[in-house]
Amino acid sequence: MGRKPFKTPLHAIGFYLFVLAFAIVTLFPLLWVLRMSLVSEAELFAFPPSLIPESITLKSLTAGKCPLVAGITVPCPANFETVFIDPIFKAGLANTLVIAGITTVICLVIGSVAAYALARITFYGNKPTLSLILAITFFPAVAIIAPLFLLFTQLGLINTYWGIIIPDVLFALPLTVYLLVAYFRELPEDLEEAAKMDGANIWQAFFRVTVPLSIPGIVTTGLLTFIYAWNEFLFANTLGLDEVVQPATVVIPLFATTYTTDYGAQAAASIILTAPLVVLVLFFQRKIVSGLTAGATKG
């Protein structure tokens, strides 16, 4: 999209005011909750609320002690200490990492192989398979929680990591496959063809040529799959019965029930669970946006 000049300075001012309003509205909840997590209790309950927080000082930002690794603590705001010394929340974060991490690896392994076949090989099953996989995107997850609960009870999968990972894989896979199909289709076929000329079969062409060339696409896809699995709530809430396996998304609403009026701690917990995603997304924004919107522009 070329940059064409604004007709009058007034147009330019109006345009940038619109952009500014968009940015403010979009970021406001995040900034406001960040503020809630940092201000003193007196200011939190102040009426009317102060627009510029006054109680955030260098001293208040280092008032707490957050455990980093065994025995070592770092200075942090008091509300963050409340959250970080909560063993259930810490376990929740660790569980989130395990569940989202394993889900992402499984999705990338089976999804990349399927995506390669769907992008490169012409066979009767190609289109129907792709449609079936994409249809899962629209599938209401709640429709299968009762049967999964009964099945997993019999299989002993209730309250295990696998019990949560298996349905997570189902719902993350369409995203993985869809992004990789789009990526593989963009990749020039010449090198694979050359490898096949040299006697490589499809698997070899895929693993030795396509995969090494697709690392950027695979990283972006893995990132989006990870974010998806990180945010999953319904299955974890149904199939994980206690904090031994529950990820942070399940722990956080319970946290709000435990610390009913400790709004500062709830705000801090929200920030902690969101911050890593915001950083990842800002860092990879260009790739993420082009991956996610590919479908709106191509048939």
């Binding site: 999209m1 070329g2 940059r3 064409k4 345009f15 968009f22 509205v25 909840p29 406001w32 809630m36 009317p48 609320p49 089976i110 192989v113 399927a114 076949a117 769907l118 090989i121 066979f123 099953g125 398979t129 079936l132 899962i136 995107t137 629209f138 599938f139 209401p140 997850a141 429709a143 299968i144 929680i145 009762a146 049967p147 999964l148 609960f149 189902l170 896979l173 496959v177 990180w230 945010n231 709530f233 809430n237 998304t249 956080i252 609403p253 709830q266 969101t274 995603l277 997304v281 800002l282 924004q285 260009r286 946006v289 996610l292 919107t293 590919a294 479908g295 709106a296 191509k298 048939g299």
Partner: protein, 311 residues
């Protein structure tokens, strides 16, 4: 007579391979065979974890399941479901939430996309900001908005009170909480809809506008006669996706309203996890959510002509 029919069949077979033969050919060709092998793991996941359980739910919804026994009751569970006032409450909330949030997200998203469809300084920053809410866990966005609606500390509670919009706490008022949920969803998803529509706008070639301008079309005519028709595929995909996503809303209602407000999904969940004596009713509700989603998708695809593959 029969001989000639035989002969005709023989000729037909020679000209075009029978279905059986083409299937055989599919598997004799090593490349195509590898294609099938490569999609099998993914297909197994889809069939074993989605198709299997949904059929099982359908089957179970015809039984009365108790921890010790199981008896066939036909459509009794559905009759119980359709006479439960709480079901209609959940249905009402879901319909209002879906219609209002999708309509607002579309209108705001389209406006943002049309305005931003040009090169400008800070484009990258604007795009980065737009995906921040998308990356949020919905549960956390529910909790954040709950904090902002909470009496005494919430900024929106303060404004609602000062402007006299509401009597008493927002979170204690079912109607206000539903509006609050819609606002939270519009905040979270509008930027994503805008990005989808913007991507659709950017592939419309500039010369179609040039042609329209030469023909004397006004700005508004260009928008309604050129932009909208060309953008229709992107619009349909975004709206279909958002509608089905809003229809199954669960996380947001759960954390924002602390389970006080039920959507169809929350209603279904209640029977499965909280009162397991009523799993059968939960299965009937689950089947209802599934079938209603199918109908919505069918209407979009057949009646409105959305191509789901583009999603």
């Amino acid at each position: 007579m029969s001989v000639s029919t035989e002969a005709q069949r023989g000729v037909g077979r020679a000209q075009a391979p029978s279905a059986w033969q083409s299937i055989r050919n599919e598997f004799l060709d090593s490349e195509k065979r590898t294609g099938y092998l490569m999609v099998i793991p993914t297909l197994i996941v889809v069939l074993a974890i989605a198709a299997g359980p949904i059929l099982y739910a359908l089957w179970l919804s015809l039984f009365r399941v108790l921890p010790t026994s199981q008896s066939f009751v036909g459509l009794d569970n559905y009759i119980t479901l359709f006479t439960d006032p709480a079901f209609y409450g959940a249905l009402f909330n879901t319909v209002v939430f879906t219609v209002a949030s999708v309509a607002l997200e579309f209108l705001f998203g389209l406006t943002i996309a049309v305005v931003l469809n040009r090169g400008f300084v800070g484009q990258g920053a604007a795009r980065a900001i737009a995906i921040v809410p998308w990356a949020f866990p919905t549960v956390v966005s529910g909790l954040m908005w709950r904090l902002m609606y909470t009496d005494q500390v919430g900024i929106f509670a303060y404004f609602a009170d000062r402007l006299g919009l509401i009597d008493g706490p927002i979170l204690a008022n079912t109607g206000a909480v539903l509006v609050g949920a819609i606002v939270a969803d519009v905040w979270k998803t509008t930027p994503f809809v805008a990005l989808l529509l913007l991507a659709g706008l950017q592939v419309i070639p500039g010369d179609v506008y040039e042609a329209a301008r030469v023909d004397g079309a006004t700005k508004w005519q260009q928008f309604t006669r050129v932009t909208l028709p060309l953008l229709k595929p992107a619009i349909m995909v975004a709206v279909l996706f958002r509608t089905l996503d809003a229809w199954r809303v669960y996380d947001l209602f759960w954390s924002l309203t602390d389970r006080q407000l039920e959507s169809l999904s929350v209603y279904t969940f209640k029977f499965v996890r909280i009162s397991q004596l009523n799993v059968s009713l939960g299965n009937a509700a689950a089947v209802f959510v599934f079938v209603s989603s199918l109908i919505i998708a069918f209407i979009f695809i057949k009646v409105l002509g959305t191509r789901a593959q583009e999603a």
